[in-house]
């Protein structure tokens, strides 16, 4: 699991396991590359830090058990962010036989980020809102 802190709100410490399954993951990478998310110091796994699972991209029914495994492996306290239309609802593929129509059919979602893909800044806004609510 990779850990990041939100550059614009250093008090929000989030440990993010980015489960990038499709094009939305590029926006996650962009949030890191543009410095909106900063790699956390190695000793930052401190008590009380919120573990956030960011699921971005199209989840198929074949992949859904892997998402569930990731969620179950994540230590408490934890939250799940659904990033983008595909993980929110299935997106353009909501009527496909093989696509999971929203990851909230698999794991409990704390925050849904709309977008196709959402901007990197939208990820940061969602992380701040999740981290702020948990603090």
């Amino acid at each position: 699991m990779r850990s990041y802190v939100v550059a614009s709100a250093p008090h929000v410490r989030v440990h993010v396991r980015d489960l990038g399954l499709a094009c939305c993951a590029v926006e996650f990478a962009s949030a890191v590359a543009s410095g909106l998310l900063l790699p956390a110091p190695v000793d930052d796994a401190g008590a009380g830090a919120l573990n956030v699972l960011v699921v971005s991209g199209t989840v198929t029914d074949a992949l859904a058990p892997a998402v569930l495994d990731e969620w179950q492996a994540l230590p408490e306290p934890k939250a799940a962010v659904s990033f983008g239309a595909c993980s929110n609802s299935g997106g353009p593929y909501w009527d496909s036989y093989s696509v999971t129509p929203g990851i909230d059919t698999v794991i409990p979602v704390t925050t849904y980020v709309p977008g196709c893909p959402p901007r990197p800044e939208a990820l940061v806004a969602a992380l701040v809102s999740v981290g702020g609510a948990a603090a």
């Binding site: 929110n88 925050t111 806004a125």
Partner: protein, 117 residues
């Protein structure tokens, strides 16, 4: 925070007064995000030969959990009732909160980057 580029596609506002309930956006949306309910009313004007039928928009929803921000609805609307906004930050705690109705679509979402009271 980085500057959001001008013209970024983040949200679509509805000018309900301009919408004629023609359903073109509903039919063209590849994702079936848009739902409309409407009814027609007869309007009688003094001197007119017969009453006019006027479409009245009862419900207009966009489901942002489905939308792929392709802009087809904006492009095809013959009455310029749909407009892009660059608001990007309107995450929701419940998926159903991403279904926005007439009242939610008039302006960019409250609290978002483009919201002005």
């Amino acid at each position: 925070m980085n500057a959001i580029p001008e013209g970024a596609r983040g949200f679509i506002t509805l000018d309900a007064a301009a919408c004629t309930s023609c359903m073109i956006c509903v039919r063209e949306c590849p994702d079936w995000c848009i739902e409309i309910d409407s009814h027609t009313e007869q309007v009688s004007e003094p001197g007119a030969r017969r009453p006019r039928s006027v479409a009245v928009l009862d419900r207009f929803t966009i489901d942002w959990s489905l939308c792929m921000y392709c802009g087809i609805c904006v492009e095809v609307c013959p009455f310029d009732a749909l407009h892009w906004s660059s608001a990007y930050d309107y995450p929701a705690r419940e998926r159903r909160e991403l279904r926005h109705g007439i009242d939610d679509l008039g302006l960019p979402p409250a609290g978002s980057s483009e919201f002005t009271a």
